[in-house]
Symmetry: C2
Subunit: 157 residues, 2 copies
């Protein structure tokens, strides 16, 4: 650790990282993701993309890979790879659409269900502990802010 430099006074035309929202979002998001990943990665041998695919399919069975990609905001290559490894570990079963044989139909296997029902509470528990730093009002507020910002960010693309 080093001697403290005196902080330059903030000026509105200068950027300082620790007041810059995109930066703070990124730090927070990375911190949270890594915390969670540590929790289930080692214990269940699940990567983040795998976990997302599982979570989507647990809720919406029989989606195709692109449907999963849409719902999870992952790109289709990431989904493809996650699906590969979930198939390899027998946590997913894949069939194909009768009328459109390009489309896969994905569904959790019993093993996949089982992993899901064990991991989901961990994830939810983590979220609860995180959010317990906020009051109910603040939580609702955060909820809304995230929605508004995401919508705006997406339309700014």
């Amino acid at each position: 650790m080093r001697k403290n430099k005196t902080s330059p006074s903030p000026r509105s035309d200068r950027l300082h990282l620790d007041r810059f929202i995109p930066y703070r979002l990124s730090v927070l998001s990375n911190t949270v993701s890594m915390n969670i990943a540590r929790a289930y990665a080692r214990e269940f041998d699940l990567s983040i993309p795998e976990w997302r695919v599982l979570a989507v399919l647990a809720r919406y069975p029989d989606l195709s890979a692109v449907d999963v990609a849409e719902r999870s905001a992952m790109d289709k290559v990431a989904v493809s790879r996650a699906v590969q490894s979930l198939l390899a570990s027998k946590r997913l079963v894949r069939s194909y659409d009768k009328v459109d044989r390009r489309r896969s139909v994905l569904r959790l296997s019993a093993a996949g269900q089982s992993v899901y029902t064990r991991v989901a509470p961990l994830a939810l528990g983590y979220e609860q502990r995180l959010m317990s730093a906020l009051s109910a009002t603040e939580r609702r507020s955060l909820d809304r802010l995230l929605s508004v910002l995401l919508e705006r960010a997406q339309q700014m693309k």
Copy 2:
């Protein structure tokens, strides 16, 4: 696009991704980061880590690499690599501490300053447009929520 499945009703013990805060944080953060990166990456040939190092040093000159890492929440390898390429592009000058010859002393070159003064307004402009989706009150609220959550997330590590 596919026919809509009817949404299963949410139950509190089941996780659905689009209500899960860590997931939403991650989607928002990625969307925002990619939007910004597109803006300066191509135009200035700057990666995100490089940009962060630049921003820290613009504000706090003469830090060492580990100081930069601390201030920017990057790890030291990432800083080392960003510093390498910033040195190669002559946007940074490096000297070494007289009393501790392990420590580097990093500072923007004139070219670095120049890049910074051109990129910073872009970044700030993006932030403003993003945040203009929120009222002043909401902005303050977001600000506070991010601080609280980050602190909590870090202590949960």
